[in-house]
């Protein structure tokens, strides 16, 4: 295998593999946008891209850097409102996949994007929920792409902005969330973790090439479950070429190796 690639690239490629054709995907910019455009160009040509700001099914021009970027408005079917996207599509139950990010992700896949430390006396105030809580509450499947750092994976979030499984397998059901048992997949540059529906906790399901379970454990504050796991498939030439040449040709998000 002479194909050279970075783990950041493979992280995005692995995320793109989670998207199926005809999926309705609610996504902002950044790596999630890169992953979904890659999926669309590879195996999900009928994917529908929905942006929180209200743009429905644009033909995205590489490479947007904001949910307000004209590059996510090009040839959109409709320029709607945030209520159309997050209410009429997402809360309505029509979103197959939503992407999340956040400063902290705990073992139940709860996400904190509000405050580090005490909410009423924060050490660091973060931007807040934005649409993240809505995405985590209503999408059928939740994808989280993040670089793997220990401080990002604490035992408990300082503040739960967006619900994972809250506190156990029935946590969402007990709270009254409509989507009770969503798939949640966390894709990092070290591994893939998914929600184990029996425990409501994250379990390691895949390792990135040349990464060991120990590498993951050292970089994770909580103790992810381990069952059977496999290696993340290496990228194909087509995946790498499409990513580099068509999706992020200017290296806005990813420098090639």
């Amino acid at each position: 295998m002479s194909l050279r690639f970075s783990l950041d690239e493979l992280m995005v490629i692995e995320a793109s593999r989670q998207i199926e054709d005809e999926n309705i995907v609610l996504v902002g910019t950044g790596l999630p946008m890169v992953a979904s455009l890659l999926a669309q160009k590879l195996h999900a040509p009928k994917m529908c891209y929905v942006v929180e700001t209200g743009n429905i099914a644009p033909e995205v021009i590489p490479t947007p850097t904001s949910v307000c970027d004209p590059r996510v408005m090009y040839k959109a079917i409709k320029h709607g409102s945030l209520l159309d996207s997050l209410g009429g599509i997402l809360q309505r139950g029509l979103t197959d996949i939503a992407f999340l990010g956040g400063a902290q992700i705990d073992e139940y896949a709860n996400v904190n994007s509000t405050a580090i430390g005490d909410y009423n006396n924060p050490k660091v105030r973060l931007p807040g929920s934005g649409g993240a809580n809505d995405l985590a509450s209503h999408a059928k499947k939740i994808l989280i792409i993040t670089r793997h750092e220990k401080r990002r994976f604490p035992k408990n979030c300082d503040y739960i902005t967006s619900p994972g499984y809250i506190n156990g397998p029935e946590g969402r059901k007990d709270a009254g969330i409509v989507v009770k048992y969503p798939d949640i997949v966390v894709i990092t540059n070290l591994c893939v973790m998914e929600i184990d529906k029996k425990s409501g906790k994250l379990v390691i399901t895949k390792l990135m090439p040349n990464i060991s379970i120990d590498d993951v454990m050292i970089n994770t504050e909580f103790k992810p479950l381990i069952k059977s796991y496999v290696n993340v498939s290496n990228p194909t030439k087509k995946e790498i070429d499409t990513l580099r040449k068509e999706v992020d040709p200017y290296g806005v998000y990813l420098k090639d190796t």
Binding site: V67, S81, L83, N120, G128, S129, N133
Partner: protein, 307 residues
């Protein structure tokens, strides 16, 4: 009908002076680095309207300027973010130092509150925020920001009720409007349609004033009919340094400059306010200082290439 046009054009000085009072709740348009109402926010700073409550979804530069100028007592929004340019730092700083009160909601929750306000209903249900700290941890001074109730049509189905929100005044920068206040927003509209229709007063600035005959020939282009609008100001580049779809891209350099000063705070930040607002006679002077004609030309050209 509009056989006769009700002319609502006036200066920003007049509009902000006439419609905004100290203590008002202000609906803030724009999102992140797109179509932010900087022109109108500058005028509020200039007039030193105080004790404001700012409401919106993702509030960035307008909110950060008003907080930085110490005119804000509270924010109710979904996020304070410039996306890849970072958090709204003056806002962050004010929260970390307990200088302002803050009430957090999700974006859909805020949009839903505006929807309720726009429909004249007192509250609206939501299935967002359940199970999270958005419903558990409250900033001490806030009033009852939600209520949890049972769904009368289904057992064991808790529902969040959110209070309707009708801002005293909303400020929004758009692409086009006519003199009577028919508003055309192009591209994304974020929380603005619902917020505008919910507001008691609405001040609109626009890139271009258009003829009412144009409005009447293009009813599908009208985002907001004139009956919701109280003041119209034509102000090209009124959303600078953020982007306005069909007109110009955002200015990365000036946004970065702002963020650097906002993050630093103290004298660096007050120098920014002095240089770009207090010492400017007009918004044009600010744009000239911050960008200059050739930069503006390139931001416009850059947008045109993307259409």
């Amino acid at each position: 009908m509009l056989n006769k046009i009700i002319d609502k054009t006036m200066s920003a000085k007049e509009a902000i002076g006439k419609f905004i009072s100290d203590g008002d709740t202000i609906g803030v348009g724009g999102q992140s680095i797109g179509r932010v109402s900087t022109f109108l926010a500058h005028e509020i700073v200039r007039q030193q309207k105080k004790n404001l409550t700012l409401v919106g979804c993702n509030l960035s530069l307008s909110m950060d300027l008003l907080v930085g100028a110490k005119l804000v007592k509270k924010t109710e929004c979904g996020s304070g973010s410039f996306e890849r340019f970072g958090t709204a730092f003056q806002w962050r700083n004010a929260i970390q130092n307990n200088l302002i009160e803050v009430q957090d909601y999700s974006h859909l929750a805020m949009a839903s509150r505006f929807l309720a306000g726009s429909l004249g209903i007192p509250f609206i249900p939501s299935k967002s925020m359940l199970g999270t700290d958005l419903l558990k941890k409250q900033n001490s001074n806030t009033e009852k920001p939600f209520e949890i109730t049972d769904n009368p049509w289904k057992k064991n189905d808790p529902v969040v009720l959110l209070p309707a929100l009708q801002p005293d005044v909303s400020i929004v920068h758009v692409q086009m409007a006519d003199k009577s206040g028919n508003v055309i927003i192009e591209g994304f509209t974020t929380h603005e349609p619902e917020m505008i229709k919910a507001s008691k007063k609405v001040i609109i600035s626009c890139e271009k004033l258009v003829d009412t005959e144009f409005v009447k020939s293009n009813p599908e282009k009208i985002t907001i009919p004139y009956i919701f609008v109280d003041a119209v100001i034509e102000q090209p580049l009124g959303g600078y340094p953020t982007s306005v779809y069909n007109y110009y891209e955002h200015d990365s350099d000036h946004i970065s400059e702002y963020q650097q000063k906002a993050r630093a705070g103290g004298k660096e930040y007050s120098d920014y306010l002095n240089k770009y607002i207090y010492d400017c006679k007009s918004f044009e002077e600010y744009v000239k200082k911050a960008a200059g004609p050739s930069k503006i030309k390139s931001l416009k050209e850059s947008m045109l290439k993307l259409l």
